[in-house]
C-alpha cells in the first residue's frame, strides 16, 4: 500500500553542525560536561609545566591519549602497563614517540615520587588496585579519571555531542 507523504511529521533533514547547537540539552548533560571540562582544565594546569606519567595503555589509555594528550599537545614522559612494550596498542603511542614500559622497569622507579601519574584505566576496580600499588611504592600525586569522563571523551571524539 502506498504510504502517505507525511515526512515532516517525522523528520526534516538539517545541517548537523548547525542544528545540534540549536538543541537545548537537559540540565543533566551540563553537569556531565562541566565535570569533564573541569578535569581537563585541572590536568592542563598541572601537566603544562610538569612531566607526568600515564598508567594504562588499554582502552582508557587510548581515550586519554586521543581526547586529552592530542587535544592539548601534552604527552607523558612514559606509559606504564603490565604488558610493557609488547602491548597490542603500542602502535597508537609510537606515533607520538611514546614507549610503553612495564611498571617493574627500573627507569620508572627512578622517577621522583612526586611526579604526577594519571591512572588511565576505565575500570573502577582496577583503578583502585593500581592506585594502592603505586601508593605502596611511594608515589603521591595520583590522578584517577571516572568512567563518565571516559564516556564524555568518547562521545566528543565521535563528534556525537
Amino acid at each position: 500500500m502506498k504510504e502517505k507523504n507525511n515526512s515532516k511529521k517525522w523528520f526534516e533533514k538539517k545541517d548537523f553542525s548547525k542544528a545540534k547547537n540549536e538543541i537545548e540539552p537537559l540540565p543533566e548533560f551540563y553537569k556531565y560536561k562541566e565535570k569533564a571540562e573541569t578535569l581537563e582544565k585541572k590536568f592542563v594546569n598541572i601537566f603544562k609545566n610538569n612531566s607526568f606519567i600515564m598508567y594504562g595503555a588499554g582502552g582508557g589509555g587510548l581515550f586519554f591519549l586521543k581526547a586529552f594528550c592530542e587535544k592539548y599537545n601534552l604527552y607523558p614522559k612514559v606509559i606504564l602497563d603490565k604488558e610493557g612494550e609488547k602491548h597490542p596498542n603500542k602502535d597508537f603511542f609510537e606515533v607520538h614517540n611514546l614507549k610503553i614500559s612495564k611498571p617493574e622497569n627500573e627507569t620508572f622507579k627512578r622517577f621522583p615520587q612526586n611526579i604526577p601519574i594519571v591512572i588511565s584505566i576505565a575500570k573502577k576496580e582496577l583503578q583502585e588496585e593500581i592506585k594502592n600499588n603505586l601508593q605502596l611504592l611511594g608515589f603521591k600525586n595520583l590522578y584517577l579519571i571516572s568512567e563518565d569522563i571516559f564516556d564524555y571523551w568518547y562521545l566528543k571524539l565521535w563528534d556525537a555531542i
Binding site: M1, K14, K20, I23, Y32, D148, D151, W158
Partner: protein, 554 residues
Amino acid sequence: MYIIGTKLFHHDSAIFILDFQNKEIFALSTERITRVKHDPSFIAPILTGINKDIFKKAKYIVYNPLWERDSLVKNFFYRYGINAKIEKKEHHLCHAASAYYFSPFYGKPTIVFTLDGKGDGKYGTLFLFNKNNYEKISFFKNQYLDNKKIEFYETSIGILYLKFTSVLGLKSKINEKAKLFKRESEIDILKALGNEGKTEALAAYGEPDEKLYSLLKDGYSVDKENLCWNHNFEVLRKLHNIDFLKKWKEKVGDKNFAATIQRWLEDTVVELLNIVYEKYKIPRLAMAGGVVANVIMNLNIFERTPFKEIYIFPAMGDDGTAAGAAVLKAIELGYDISWLKEKEMPYWGPSYTKEEVAKELEKERWKDKIKYTYIGENWQEMAAEMIADGKIIAVFQGRMEFGPRALGNRSVLADPRDPYTREKLNKTIKRRPWFQPFCPSVLEEERERLFEKSYKNKHMTIAFRMKKEFWDKLPSAIHIDGTARPQFVEEKDNPNFYRILKKFKERTGYGIVVNTSFNLHGRTIVMTPEDALKDFIDCNIDALFIEGYLIERK
C-alpha cells in the same frame, strides 16, 4: 505513543520509531543523512532532524548492543534534550525479533536464525519464536583467537567472510571517524565491510579449492547436540591470519578463492539448519544479520533444507536491530503488534511532497544544469517507454526504503533485454566490478513464467534460478550462473512501480526491469530531492522521475 529502537552507533547506526496510535513506522539509518556507506557515527544527525514531539511522547528508547555503557547512552540522549526511559537489548535478540515480528509467520512457531560479524559476544543465534514468546536454542560464541584481543582476530564466520573479501581487495572508503582506535590492519579489514556481496558475485566464476575448503571444514564443525559450531582454534588461528589467506589467494586465484569461502558458507549453514529442522520439524525460518544478505546462501537454504517458508528481514544488517529493539519493548509493554506484518514493504523513510520537490527544483543552483516538466499522474507510462527505448532512468517517489535494497522508490531502472545494460549502468552511475550483476524487479504474475522454483519474495533478499529459456532474452537481469535476486512486485506493494512494470510488459512482453539503487558510486541511496538532483547531475542517467516531474539534463 511512540517506542523508539536504535542501533546507537558503529556501522549501520539507525533509528526505528513505532507509532502505536496511528499504526505507523518511521525508520532511518545515519548513512542516508551523511551519505557515508555504513556510517559508524552515533545517530546524532538523525536526532537533530526528528520531530521533537516524537521524543516528548516517546515512552522508551531501546538501544543495542548491550555493551554500550549506561551513563554514556543517557548523557548522549540528554545532549539532545531527550528524557525518555532508556533500556537496552541484546544485539542478536534484536536481529531475531526483526526477522520474526515483521514476517508473515507471526503467531506461528518459527525457527529464527541470525548470523553476522559480531554483537554482544556472539556471531549468531538460533531461536524458537512463537507469537510473543521466544526461547534461545543456541548461540555462536565469538571469541578472540589470542589474548591480545585484536579486533577481527576472532572466531566469527561473518568476520572470516569479511577477511576473504578484504584479501580479495574488495574495499571501499570509510569514514575517518571509523579509524579511531583502530590499527592499520583492522582498518584494512574494515574497508571490506559492505563489499561481501562482491565476493559472493565473484564466486560464481570459480570453483572451490578442495584443500582450502577442507581446512575451513576443519576449522568449524557443526555441534549436532548443541546446534552451533565448534571452533578448532589451531586451524582458526591460521584461517583468520591475513597473510595466510593472501598466500591461499595467490595459490588458487581470486575466483576460486571466492568460490571456496562461498561454497563452504552455504554448506556449513545448510548442514546446521538441516539438523535444526530434524530436531524441531518446523517448516518456517526467519533470518536476519549481515551474513544473511548473502542471497546465494539463502537460495541454498531454500533448495537444500526442508524450510519451505523463508523470510529475511529487508534491513537484515545492523540497521534492522533498531526495529527489533523497538518491537521487543512494545511486546513487553503489552502492545498489540499484529499490524506490523501488514507493513510488508520497508518504505519507512522520509518522503517529499510535490510542492517540496518544486521548491527544490526552482533553486538557482540547478538552473544551468537541468530542465524539468511536470507530467503529472501518468509519469509511470513515460518511464516505462523510456526504459523500453534503452534509456537508463532514475525514480524517486514516496517514502525511502529502510535497508540496503532500493525497491522502486529510490531506484535506477534499465532494460534487462539489452546485453549492454550492465556496462551502461557501470559507465553511467555504478562503477561496479565487472563480475557484479544487477538485479531485477519482476511482476509477481511473471514469477512462475520466468523463474524455476521460487516464492513471493518482495525484498531482493534471496536469489532464484531463472528458467534457461530466458537467459539470452533477459541477459542483464541474471548472473553468470543463471541466478537473479528479484523483487516480485504486486500492485498493492507499490502501485506506481507496478504500473511501470506493467507498461514495460505491454511494450516488450516481459514484466521485468533491472533495478539498482539510486546512488552514485561510493555514495549511499539518495534520500532527499536535493540528493537526487546532485547524483543525477554527477552521472549520466538519461532522465529522473521525481514525484511526477521529469528531469533532464540541459
